[in-house]
């Protein structure tokens, strides 16, 4: 019981630390939020470039992509860069020397990432809602939210894989996580249907949870697909998460053992 309380306090400490860091970097947070919102608006405006009927739906199609990518990329970035951040600050040895299970530490990181990702996405959503008059009469928003919640789980799993690389190399690891993020952006049909991808690349898109998330959320918002009809996708995403999260934790543990054996935890050694 005491141990459970300790683990809860430890996860809470990681979350509180990250929110304290947001407060201290508030200027940068405002800049990021502004940039995200403006970026989403510029993408939405592409939908207005071609005159004629369907403009509103095109804006909505692109805006959904911008919103979801905002959420999923923040989630992935925060989880995968949690270790890199600690390496930059030089605190990683202290965090990893504490008597707290790694899964607890990572749970704190992931919980913060979900909350922070949602907050950043709400800012973008408000900007889109104020800027565009998007047709939402047909939308099934609960269905979209169910899919979004389910998609967090596999993305946390991917983030855990991404977190491995900065543990092994501070600089190159950060570069590698950017590459993973870029590939997901390319293949997942964020701003276009995956059918426009070259044939040889399309199978890669089937591996990305974002592909299914985008497709299902667009189904809910553009075509009004119900929660019931989206349930198989949501369950599929949860199933992918049920594989990716334990696999990510296992891979993280293997990488940590390697780091402890080779002295990679220390920034310069």
């Amino acid at each position: 019981m005491i141990s459970l309380r300790s683990e809860r306090r430890a996860a809470g400490a990681v979350i509180a630390r990250n929110f304290s860091l947001i407060r201290r970097y508030l200027g940068w947070e405002l800049v990021f939020a502004f940039y995200n919102a403006v970026n989403a608006l510029t993408i939405g405006l592409i939908g207005l470039a071609e005159p004629g009927p369907g403009q509103g739906l095109r804006v909505l199609y692109l805006s959904i992509g911008a919103l979801l990518w905002n959420f999923l990329s923040v989630l992935f970035f925060e989880v995968s860069n949690s270790v890199m951040w600690e390496r930059w600050e030089g605190t990683i040895e202290y965090s990893f020397m504490a008597p707290v299970r790694r899964v607890t530490y990572l749970f704190g990181v992931c919980a913060y990432a979900v909350v922070y990702g949602l907050a950043r996405t709400i800012v973008v959503l408000v900007a889109i809602a104020l800027f565009f008059r998007v047709p939402l009469a047909q939308a099934d928003l609960p269905g979209a939210l169910v899919v979004l919640a389910a998609s967090s789980v596999p993305f946390i799993g991917l983030g855990l894989f991404g977190a491995i690389m900065p543990m092994l190399s501070a600089e190159r690891g950060a570069q590698a996580t950017q590459v993973i993020q870029g590939v997901i952006l390319l293949v997942s049909g964020i701003y276009y249907p995956i059918s426009v991808l070259p044939h040889w690349l399309q199978p890669v898109s089937w591996l990305s949870p974002a592909t299914y998330t985008l497709s299902a959320v667009r189904g809910a918002v553009l075509q009004g697909q119900s929660v019931a009809s989206l349930l198989p996708t949501a369950l599929g995403l949860l199933a992918a998460g049920a594989v990716l999260v334990p696999a990510g934790l296992y891979a993280f543990a293997v990488a940590e053992r390697y780091a402890l054996r080779t002295g990679k935890l220390k920034r310069n050694g």
Binding site: V14, A16, R17, Y94, A98
Partner: protein, 266 residues
């Protein structure tokens, strides 16, 4: 039971910057058959030139590295097979006071106490008490660490370590780079911790006077091996011609005199 028991510990590293896929150079041996014990409540010093293996040894005891060969036991717990049990007993203060620099001392200590599962209110009260005792100005507690001097940061690092009431305190050059006053504050506090909390302490340092003042026994390490281990007074007599620990250290780690390995015990 010993606070620490090291048996024939060896550790090697690949040269820095070498890719695991393109291995060119030979491994660097950081520790080469280290064996020693630390008694419960003892303050054990490690003296050695830069790169001699002091920090590697302390990292091994801290569970931040695993030995290639040999055993490291902390109060009977193996660092390899029971790292969590070891982590509950230890804390380490390193030469670089590693913090989230934008966060205040209070926020950093809140994070540390949470990680160790401490109740926030009690931990805050205790942290303030320790920081006041160490002479950190009250108004500095809420200031970002980046606005503090090196000495003040190191005091916060010591407060962070003591917050968790470690049974074994690992101090890796805790006073390096501090001004004389801060150094004296820290040294006095280490003495107080020993007296009040009866913690076992491992102290690596370059400061001979510090070692003489604080340590019950001192090991001198060179090239990853203990080349002498005794009380400071005995080391001074045996290897320093009675001229103090510094003379002993220079004789043992410098070019001369040529000491016979048989003269040295572990």
């Amino acid at each position: 039971m010993y606070a620490i028991e090291c048996r024939e510990v060896r550790k090697e590293f690949r040269p820095e910057g070498e890719s695991p896929w393109k291995r060119r150079g030979a491994k660097v041996r950081a520790l080469d058959g280290i064996s020693f014990t630390v008694q419960d409540g003892e303050c054990f010093g490690i003296l050695g030139p830069n790169g001699s293996g002091k920090s590697t040894l302390i990292r091994l005891i801290s569970t931040l590295l695993v030995p290639d060969e040999g055993d490291v036991l902390v109060f009977g717990h193996d660092v390899r097979s029971a790292p969590m049990q070891v982590r509950r007993l230890i804390h380490r203060v390193s030469v670089e006071a590693s913090f989230f620099k934008k966060l205040s001392a209070q926020e950093n200590l809140d994070y540390a106490s949470g990680l160790y599962g401490l109740e926030r209110g009690e931990a805050r009260a205790r942290a303030r008490e320790i920081l006041m005792r160490l002479g950190l100005p009250k108004e500095k507690v809420g200031a970002p660490l980046e606005e503090m001097s090196r000495g003040q940061q190191q005091k916060v690092a010591i407060a962070r370590a003591l917050l968790t009431s470690p049974t074994l305190l690992l101090l890796d050059e805790p006073t390096t780079g501090l001004d004389p006053r801060s150094r004296r504050d820290v040294q006095e506090f280490i003495e107080e911790v020993r007296a009040v909390h009866s913690a076992s302490i491992v102290l690596s340092t370059h400061d001979m006077q510090e070692a003489e003042r604080l340590c019950d026994r001192v090991a001198i390490i060179r090239g990853g091996r203990f080349i002498a281990l005794d009380t400071p007074a005995n080391l001074a007599v045996r290897f320093g011609n009675g001229e103090g620990l510094e003379a002993a250290f220079l004789n043992l780690t410098g070019e001369e005199p040529n000491l016979d390995e048989e003269e040295i015990d572990g």
